[in-house]
Amino acid sequence: MSAQDTGRAPGSAGLAPTAIRDVLFEAPGPRTRRLMRACTVVGVILVAALVAVVLRQFYLKGQFSPRYWLFFTRSTTWAFLANGFVGTLKVAAASGILSLVLGLVLMLGRTCGVRVVEVLSRVVIDFFRGVPSLLLIYFFFLVVPQYGIKLQSFWMITLPVGLAASGVLAEVFRAGVNAVPQGQVDAALSLGMSRGKIMAKILLPQAIRFVIPTLVSQLVVVVKDTTLAYVVSYPDLMQDARVLINNYTALVSVYLVVAVIYVVLNYLINKLAAFIAARSGVTLVTRAGETSL
């Protein structure tokens, strides 16, 4: 471009990553700090009060009575929950992989340059993005078998959850590719690289690094979507929890325990993502410099 200004590219690499907070807000002054402290104290008190009210209600309703909690001391209970947990992991992993692969394919289709393929990919993406997972599950559960296709319950939950996520992931990948500075493509073109090579060697490797955090939040959504497995009676953690609830008529205690398990699982997924991102992310400085042009 002719009107490029002298946007200064980064000189040397000071690699200290900047937190979003530091970018969006200036450092608080003394008055703001006092205000922040006051708000923190009020906030903590409010949250504590809310927790106290909830606990009191549970207590009044007898939710702490041993019959709701004692069965958690039996190893069979945990073996049962572990079984469900493994089921959840299996479905989550399978739909996660399915959605990653299909999302990538859809993104490539949407940006391939062939008009028909682009429109088709776009329709598919918008369809899977727009339709609720539950509806897709009912489709595989109720409609598909009518056409004589016998699916195991594992696939009746894995396919719809994976398909639903693939539409979103296609758009995430596309955003990542768009985030790679145009200069990278210019340079690759000037070397005589083909479109396919540029996508495979230059765009995708960088795009994936940019979108790792988003990919992970999407994986968390997939994990949460797997709880719909009860619809098709696949024994995931949620389904097993419901069995326990029916056996012991213990609603609150079981849901609390299972909720904690889900939180821990998703927390670990986030940790894993941070680990991967830290290992692969050295490119941010150059990128910031180039996009400022």
């Binding site: 471009m1 002719s2 009107a3 490029q4 200004d5 002298t6 946007g7 200064r8 590219a9 980064p10 000189g11 040397s12 690499a13 690699l15 500075p181 200069g183 990278q184 210019d186 340079a187 690759a188 073109l189 000037s190 070397l191 005589g192 690289m193 083909s194 090579k197 060697k201 230059i202 490797p205 960088q206 690094r209 050295v282 490119t283 941010l284 400085v285 150059t286 990128r287 410099g289 180039e290 042009l293």
Partner: protein
């Protein structure tokens, strides 16, 4: 200084090239020939179309009218033929555009390995030699973000040279550099020019133009207003626009 190759087919020839960005007419009937071994320096105020001119030569910017010939052959419009032609034209950008996710060595071997099918071992040997020539051989294992701007630009030059191009395009190669890094890049470019490389250089570096430029092309408002030897152009500009421009870049 005029090369004695004047009767030969020019390496690059632009014939009546027109280019619009929407309503903006960025290149107006531009004609220019660059002969083998020639160093043509393109100068002009910001927005004059000089970068666009540079980018049309390997079709990073398509043109709306006129013709571009590379060694007498029209520049292909698309596909493998265009890619093959681009592989023979080296380009260096204002913002370096090194592949941010690959090492310096990979940046230089990428073209030969992926485009020309050179075996990796051979490409790496060549790359290290080139990196040595531009003085950043020790940095081969680092990633671009770990290098200074001047080092990155020298790597970018090595990356382009690794393709053994018949002509090198430089699009404001020192405009994004801190002052103390400009010379290290210019030195590499001077070395190239003295080695007989055909070059089109968009730059404001008058010292460079005077030392190795055979011809200065002055652009304003999408047109070539003046052409001449660096000495003639910088000391006796013919047009008002050129006089203003020279004053403005000498002003500081």
């Amino acid at each position: 200084m005029t090369p004695e190759t004047i009767e030969q087919t020019p390496v690059i020839e632009l014939r009546h090239v027109d280019k619009h960005f929407g309503d903006l007419h960025v290149l107006k009937d531009v004609s220019l020939a660059v002969h083998a071994g020639e160093v043509v320096v393109v100068v002009g105020p910001s927005g004059s179309g000089k970068s666009t001119l540079c980018r049309t030569i390997n079709r990073l910017e398509p043109i709306d009218g006129g013709q571009i010939l590379i060694e007498g052959t029209p520049l292909p419009q698309e596909g493998r033929a265009l890619a093959a032609m681009r592989a023979e034209i080296g380009m260096v950008f204002q913002s370096f555009n090194l592949f941010a996710h690959r090492t310096i060595l990979d940046n230089v071997t990428m073209g030969p390995v992926e485009v020309l099918g050179v075996p990796r071992k051979e490409a790496e040997r060549d790359a290290l030699e080139l990196l040595g020539r531009v003085g950043v051989r020790e940095q081969a294992a680092k990633v671009p973000a770990q290098l200074s701007g001047g080092q990155q630009q020298r790597v970018a030059i090595a990356r382009a040279l690794a393709m053994h191009p018949k002509v090198m395009l430089f699009d404001e190669p020192t405009s994004a550099l801190d002052p103390e890094m400009i010379n290290e890049v210019l030195e590499v470019m001077v070395g190239l020019a003295q080695g007989g490389m055909t070059m089109v250089v968009v730059t404001h570096e008058m010292g460079f133009a005077r030392r190795v430029g055979h011809r200065v092309v002055f652009m304003a408002d999408g047109q070539i207003l003046e052409e001449g030897t660096p000495e003639a152009f910088f000391t006796h500009p013919q047009t008002e626009r050129a006089r203003d421009f020279i004053d403005s870049i000498q002003g500081h």
